[in-house]
């Protein structure tokens, strides 16, 4: 493995990390601020991809699909919050896990009924197709650069929203003491519904960005959900800054580990065994990382001030 390839793999890892941040931003928002464990985040990710794939297919325009996807994701989120989650705020996390796990099953089966079990078509949009040469002899897909830009924009936007705006102040206040904010005359119910809706939009956006590089199919959100939980646990639940740093960290560990380990292990255990064991060990790395972080910093790298 050459140094240039190592640099490229680090870049790949960072890019994957930014994508992970896109997936986990909404989750950390909902869990950190509303104190709700929302396993259905993966379903919202899937719905976003399906909405976008459908309207991209109908209109032929990726941007128009984005414009249609956002309100649909918002409505889906609000409906879930009002119908299923509102009664769960005072219950413990186990009840929330059970309820939202039920939602996963419900949405996977609904999607299969509406769209069928096949993977839905969703190509890279023409204007983002192609590649640019960032590193010599290693053209990088334009769409992946767009994913990085979208991820960074979401991070900056959220940071601004939470720390610099009046609504952000109310959200933080609600996270600290829900009853007190309500007593001061703020409609905390509505506020929570909006936060959940925002989380749904972020999940949908992540699903939409995943569509052109992955398979749009029932259950596509589950794999991502596990990684997203690892991200927010390492980053500190509710912390946007923590989510950014943890996702890039995980992305790099996962990708670089996966590409180096099989060859590094071949030095002392034989080629064949290393090829089998390498990927297996590499896929454990992020969980080892999570365990280590939890051991030294049980609240994550950047515990959120509120909540």
């Amino acid at each position: 493995m050459t140094w240039l390839l190592l640099v490229e793999q680090t870049l790949n890892g960072a890019q994957f990390g930014v994508f992970l941040f896109l997936v986990s931003a909404g989750l950390t928002l909902v869990l950190g601020i509303m104190n709700v464990v929302n396993l259905a985040h993966g379903s919202l990710f899937m719905l976003g991809a399906y909405y976008a794939a459908t309207f991209f297919g109908l209109t032929g325009s990726f941007l128009l699909a984005l414009v249609i996807m956002v309100p649909l994701a918002l409505i889906s989120g609000i409906v879930i919050e009002v119908v299923a989650l509102r009664t769960m705020y005072d219950r413990d996390h186990m009840d929330q896990v059970l309820a939202t796990f039920g939602l996963i099953l419900f949405f996977n089966e609904s999607v299969r009924l509406v769209w069928g079990p096949e993977s839905q078509p969703m190509p890279v949009p023409d204007f983002l197709d192609g590649s640019v040469e960032i590193l010599p002899e290693a053209p990088y897909p334009v769409f992946r650069i767009v994913v990085i830009l979208v991820g960074l924009a979401v991070g900056a936007g959220l940071y601004f929203l939470i720390t610099r705006t009046k609504i952000g102040m109310l959200i933080r206040a609600g996270a600290s003491n829900r009853a007190m904010v309500g007593a001061l005359g703020v409609n905390i119910r509505l506020l929570y519904t909006l936060v959940f809706g925002l989380g749904a939009i972020l999940a949908g956006l992540a699903g939409m960005m995943a569509g052109p590089i992955q398979s749009v199919e029932p259950g596509m959100g589950e794999d991502m959900l596990i990684l997203a939980f690892v991200v927010i646990v390492i980053g500190g639940i509710g912390s946007i800054r923590g989510a950014v740093i943890a996702s890039v960290l995980i992305g790099i560990v996962e990708v670089v580990g996966r590409s180096i380990l099989p060859f590094a292990m071949a030095n002392f255990m034989g080629e064949d065994a290393a090829q089998t064991a390498g990927p297996a060990v590499a896929s454990m790395l992020i969980y080892v990382l999570m365990a280590a972080v939890l051991f030294f910093k049980p609240a994550g790298l950047f515990p959120a001030q509120a909540g």
Binding site: M1, F19, E118, E217
Partner: protein, 390 residues
């Protein structure tokens, strides 16, 4: 007491039915994956076999056909439970279906022990071709190794040397590489085993580009393959390093791949462009009935009822005469979507394998076109290890 009932019961049965105690229907248990992420495999196969039943008028050798479906949820233990239920409660005459080798491994024992016929419409577990072979076992698909063996042969024919290999890190993934390397004579640039269920392949794609191979051989089934092919194309590698695959690109996944699959190659037993009237009728009627293009999974499932029908006719309408059924089925005397073929001594088809590629049609949409025969009358590599025991 028990002795007396045992004597009376057959006598009553004889008295009740005019002539011989004969079945009025044949009951076929069909086990496949109909739920979860892999439900699409079950759907394509079920649609295929029901079209065959339509063509047979839901009759076999004068008997009505009754299908009993079971969902294995892609789990061996659930598949085994379904087989038990179908054998004991539904009293099926035979069991068919099954997409996954590990589910087949669990189901076949129960069925064979009950001395009933089992027909795989997909799973090609190599043990069933060799040491675990059984006269009760048939397949309308292939042995797992046959398709990658044909691919190795294709790469020899195209004089591709220095090929990069990518496969999934589990048993079937390794079997694919073994099958490929059994026939491929060139140099292997490097091989990568990715994690089962992986969705992001940028790291692997960077390694493939850095190795500068002449071609890429891959086994990346289902949604993993959809993600891989999209990402491979987005990286622009398809222009310099052509992608040859097995069980990755097919009409089952082509909707998901979309245009990203154009310019990729694969091997398959099914010549979808053949002029064989059975094949043409199958494709035309399938599209008319279901509104989508059949995949090779639909084609091999279509063959199953046809094969059973040949058995029932050979057994003169008695599905309980298993030996006569097997003897008739061994002749492979039925209209198959692959044309005429023969069964080897282990009941695995001796069949042609074709080079297929994904091309753009007049509207730029992807279509699979068969562009040549790679191996004629290809036998699997295990049949010599097979000794039938009834």
């Amino acid at each position: 007491m028990r002795f007396r009932i045992a004597l009376i019961a057959p006598a009553l049965a004889l008295a009740a039915t005019p002539g011989l105690a004969q079945e009025k229907e044949i009951r076929i248990g069909y086990i496949n994956t109909f739920s979860g992420g892999a439900a699409v495999y079950g759907k394509h196969q079920k649609d295929g076999l029901e079209l065959a039943l339509d063509h047979l008028g839901w009759k076999m050798g004068g008997l009505d056909v009754k299908m009993i479906y079971g969902d294995d949820q892609r789990k061996p233990d659930v598949g085994r439970q379904q087989a038990d239920k179908q054998l004991k409660k539904d009293k099926v005459h035979l069991v068919a279906g099954i997409t996954w080798s590990n589910v087949l491994a669990a189901v076949q024992k129960r069925v064979i022990r009950s001395k009933k016929i089992i027909i795989s419409t997909n799973a090609g577990w190599s043990a069933m071709a060799g040491k675990n072979c059984s006269p009760y076992f048939f397949t309308t698909s292939w042995n797992n190794d046959q398709t990658p063996e044909a691919m190795g042969e294709l790469m020899n024919q195209e004089k591709l040397d220095n090929v990069f290999l990518i496969s999934a890190n589990y048993q079937a993934g390794k079997d694919m590489l073994t099958g490929f390397e059994r026939t491929y004579k060139g140099k292997v640039a490097k091989r990568i085993l990715y994690r089962l269920g992986q969705r992001d392949y940028q790291a692997e794609i960077s390694q493939i580009r850095a190795a500068k191979p002449a071609a890429l051989f891959g086994f990346v089934p289902g949604p993993m393959g959809i993600a891989f092919v999209k990402q491979y194309r987005a990286a622009g590698l398809h222009k310099t390093i052509p992608f040859y695959s097995v069980f990755t690109v097919d009409y089952l996944t082509l909707g998901g791949h979309g245009k990203a699959a154009i310019g990729t190659y694969h091997t398959s037993y099914w010549n979808n462009n053949s002029d064989d009237p059975v094949n043409k009728r199958f494709i035309a009627d399938f599209k008319k009935k279901y509104g989508y293009h059949p995949s090779m999974f639909s084609a091999q499932a279509y063959d199953m009822p046809m094969l059973v029908n040949s058995g029932v006719v050979g057994a003169k309408g008695d599905p309980n005469d298993v030996r006569a059924m097997v003897a008739a089925m061994e002749k492979a005397d039925f209209p198959s979507t692959r044309g005429k073929f023969t069964y080897n001594t282990n009941h695995i088809p001796i069949q042609n394998f074709y080079r297929r590629e994904v091309q753009a049609d007049a509207n730029g949409n992807p279509v699979i076109v068969t562009t040549g025969v790679v191996k004629e009358n290809h036998k699997d590599s295990y049949y010599k290890q097979c000794k039938f025991k009834w």
